[in-house]
Symmetry: D2
Subunit: 325 residues, 4 copies
Amino acid sequence: MTKEPILDVAHLAHVEIHSPKVEASVAFFKDIMGMSVAHREGKSVYMRAYEDHYHNTLIITENEEAGLGHLALRATSPQALERRVAAIEEMGCGIGWIDGDIGHGPAYQFHSPDGHKVEIFWDVEYYKAPEEEKTPLLNRPQRRPNYGVPVRRLDHINLLAKETNKNVEFYEEALGFKVRERILAEDDSDIAAWLSVSNLVHDIAIMGDALGEEGRLHHICYWYGFPQHLSDVADLLIERGYEIEAGPGKHGVTQACFLYVVEPGGNRVELFGDPGYQIFDPDWKTVEWKGKDLEKAIIWHGSNLPQEFFEYGTPVKRKTPVKNS
Amino acid sequence: MTKEPILDVAHLAHVEIHSPKVEASVAFFKDIMGMSVAHREGKSVYMRAYEDHYHNTLIITENEEAGLGHLALRATSPQALERRVAAIEEMGCGIGWIDGDIGHGPAYQFHSPDGHKVEIFWDVEYYKAPEEEKTPLLNRPQRRPNYGVPVRRLDHINLLAKETNKNVEFYEEALGFKVRERILAEDDSDIAAWLSVSNLVHDIAIMGDALGEEGRLHHICYWYGFPQHLSDVADLLIERGYEIEAGPGKHGVTQACFLYVVEPGGNRVELFGDPGYQIFDPDWKTVEWKGKDLEKAIIWHGSNLPQEFFEYGTPVKRKTPVKNS
Amino acid sequence: MTKEPILDVAHLAHVEIHSPKVEASVAFFKDIMGMSVAHREGKSVYMRAYEDHYHNTLIITENEEAGLGHLALRATSPQALERRVAAIEEMGCGIGWIDGDIGHGPAYQFHSPDGHKVEIFWDVEYYKAPEEEKTPLLNRPQRRPNYGVPVRRLDHINLLAKETNKNVEFYEEALGFKVRERILAEDDSDIAAWLSVSNLVHDIAIMGDALGEEGRLHHICYWYGFPQHLSDVADLLIERGYEIEAGPGKHGVTQACFLYVVEPGGNRVELFGDPGYQIFDPDWKTVEWKGKDLEKAIIWHGSNLPQEFFEYGTPVKRKTPVKNS
Amino acid sequence: MTKEPILDVAHLAHVEIHSPKVEASVAFFKDIMGMSVAHREGKSVYMRAYEDHYHNTLIITENEEAGLGHLALRATSPQALERRVAAIEEMGCGIGWIDGDIGHGPAYQFHSPDGHKVEIFWDVEYYKAPEEEKTPLLNRPQRRPNYGVPVRRLDHINLLAKETNKNVEFYEEALGFKVRERILAEDDSDIAAWLSVSNLVHDIAIMGDALGEEGRLHHICYWYGFPQHLSDVADLLIERGYEIEAGPGKHGVTQACFLYVVEPGGNRVELFGDPGYQIFDPDWKTVEWKGKDLEKAIIWHGSNLPQEFFEYGTPVKRKTPVKNS
């Protein structure tokens, strides 16, 4: 009988990005994407989408270079947290415990093989809306903002990695992620992989870094769920001088309606405009795209991806034209 | 430290409904909802939606009265299956093992407190599309049909129960379901509850049977994910003489865009027209609706629910006007 | 050979409504419907939607009672204007010329049989966006606002009339309106009629006043064109304490996706959420709804219309519960 | 005082295309676009969309080469027809009267300067649905088909011309078309122009033929009105082996959500997926796109147009890869 699956990680809880222009970044996430500031502390601004249930899902921290601060996972139970920490310590890539941060309690931090900083925690603070932001829709933590085209919740993160396979295996073995889809080179090594612990096709994606760099961020993604909102936000972006990198269009991989734009701090942001598809099968066979199938994997229909999409990441390592920043 | 959650059930795998007019029922699911027949055997027809990954998700079995045949859950692993079977046997409500059926292997059957027949299994058969039904969208098991307004996948089942709380507790304790939302009477007993093991707000809903009957079915639900398709299928229904019971409209509970219609065999079918919202928090606090909040729980906006919605179920127990059958 | 059609009126150019709470009305059209203030003068505020090409389309004028100020039509040419003025003068219902108003030149004013004040003009002022509101979408006069759920343009007006037929005939004979659809009583008199000079199904609708009053307003309507925006604006309305009178839902007449809400000044506003259908046939045979067909005329699917919908108009003449005002 | 506008033409009534593979073309318009065959006569098949009010809007005629058969305009009255015929005869480009065809009465035929055959008529036959195709939606001539992703009505035609300006002026002077938008070369000559007599931004578009040919067809266009249907039909096309030339995407010119595909006979077909915008102003100032504004004119967002889009037309005059035919 095969080994039981690891079911110790629940989902991606928040992400921290670095920005050399914090206030411009905050204004972008607020005025265009309809997010709100939940807290400010030191060099960081804590933001949230109106259907995020936790206190915050995005931390923007001042830094000379754009890029990933860290990503945070929530365990499925206190015991699950202990198990994952023990496993990671044994692997030798742990950094150690922190007392917590705005919005959550003690967290164990560690490095992925590529050097991305990750943390995992259990204790969390839920968002308590002020009286005027409450809604009679009791499963929604905060009423829909009437500014921007408001995103609903954090969806996923996409990381660039020097060695894709090594990182994919780490997320599988240390944390129980399952590889839902992958794009394969002719030698069957991973060019990119989409992994999840939830019913989403991906909580985390990992793509080979075309520049051979380590620890870079490709993009973070917030979710609308309705295709119309990509069209609405495209108007807002174009008419306020932002350049859309790609989209609206539809990927074959994940079936996601996408729009990509670089926020003023330099980090790429994806806006996810439909439900894509979801995976309920506990024994999912990884979907593999290769050779002649690849074209449809990347674009099912609509907008193409420019060359920049495959090279640009943060921190910026080569002089690619960085729009909007 | 609190007890660890039970993570042994993955999702709702299929449902069997009874129909006194099997061929009319099959025609409805085919011509209106764009489903296809995967197999016929004895008195049963096995059907599927084009994004269902398993061989079939709907079994329509000839029977004098409409109603539920059984519902089937898939375990998260072979070990998880054994654990659940042991727990259910200990509770004394087991029926026993069957060898399997079209589309899956050995399954353990049991009765819920209300008498609904449930089964749980591990071994499953995936759908293999014939050559002409294959699609370059490799994460889709079968190309989109060009007839009807095709649903994408099975979503959930809604059961009527004589005693709501007793049944809710059974699904929690025996199977690890979590109560995501509930509607409470003035004495805080459950009027209705929405439960899931997945990130969906509900895989199973349980509502008090207004007629005091046992073991009845309120509805099964298939998923579109796009609101436009509810409008499209409404045209098809109205112009082919079906009466829509309610919808399109939007529930507060689950945030679902809904449309309800009774299929020709007499069973109510819901079509789910948007992504609703999803739950990733492993420690979700049940959303409770009561008193003055109830109106928005039932209808957030749009179509009202007629009185029939709260009374009609299958088997039919009182002379409620049954449309379309 | 039949008489040639009158093609002298181009479309509904603007409407003036009365409000006892001007600032609350302006805030509603701005914060919820994303309109902007183009000018303030005396007791009037001139507003516009972002795809209105003229300077303004809505005038809100302070008045003790809510209701219609006037509605304005644009002629198809200066000569056409002269012809219509001559015809109306001959009919004896003219008021006379005014020099113009903010946004247009000389206009001829007159009363419809029911006493609604109407004006017709030729010279118009186009909206010139300030630099920061310009858009590279050159066929759009002003960039999409990033507040509210912004309506795109004025669509139509719906008037209550003591005697429907007399008014319908006036618009046909004096102005060249064509009756596109009508709802007939058993004696074939009009209960309601939808008239247009453009390809829209209606620029003006006329419905019998259930209270037997004269000169009242049923509603004004702004247009989105996309069904999603009705769902978006419904969230905004409900979560800010407004009560939606009806919708989202779909009428059979005009095929319009509708949402009705009463603005704080007391006037009913419709939001039109899809393209409906259009009429290009120059010899259109009026669609007549009667008897058993009526139910589908009023509601094709979704939300019902409450009794209030058939009685409430402005000025308010009976104690109907007026929401949001 | 300026000359009065010519208001003698109502709209584009139907188009005839040539196909070397008539049955494959008919199957495409039926199985993918959900149209139906209204009549067959000689080498021609007469088709219609379900919201076309006339008997037919598309004639597919067997011919060695693909291309335009003719396009047909409906006059606003019998008198208007006489006036236009007199004007065209005076211009010397008339062909003469035909007795009529399936679906309409006597028509006057003529050649545009580029040699496209055009006809104009008054007497028309309305579609009478057989009993089983009738709908309670009385403003819809035929119920929505439950096959394909059904288009609703004919929208416009796009012609290639050797000399754009000469043809644009002909449609203005002979027929009263108004130029709604234009793309200008550096010397201010027209590269392309969008003309209409209705409230649509274009009933007819004329684009310079990059190959310098005369009388070719760029595309015909049918209308959905809802963006979701472009995504739905894209699935149908891709999964049945058709190659989408471009889209879904959004043009700046006309604000149209587009999808382009070449039907099996070789003619390009556009599917129009939203309401675009409409023009009610009788004195519309032509929107002019030039130089740096052009990029947004062609693509507002989403899918790019391939080089083929600017060269391929029918009859095919150079070896461009012709997909799907």
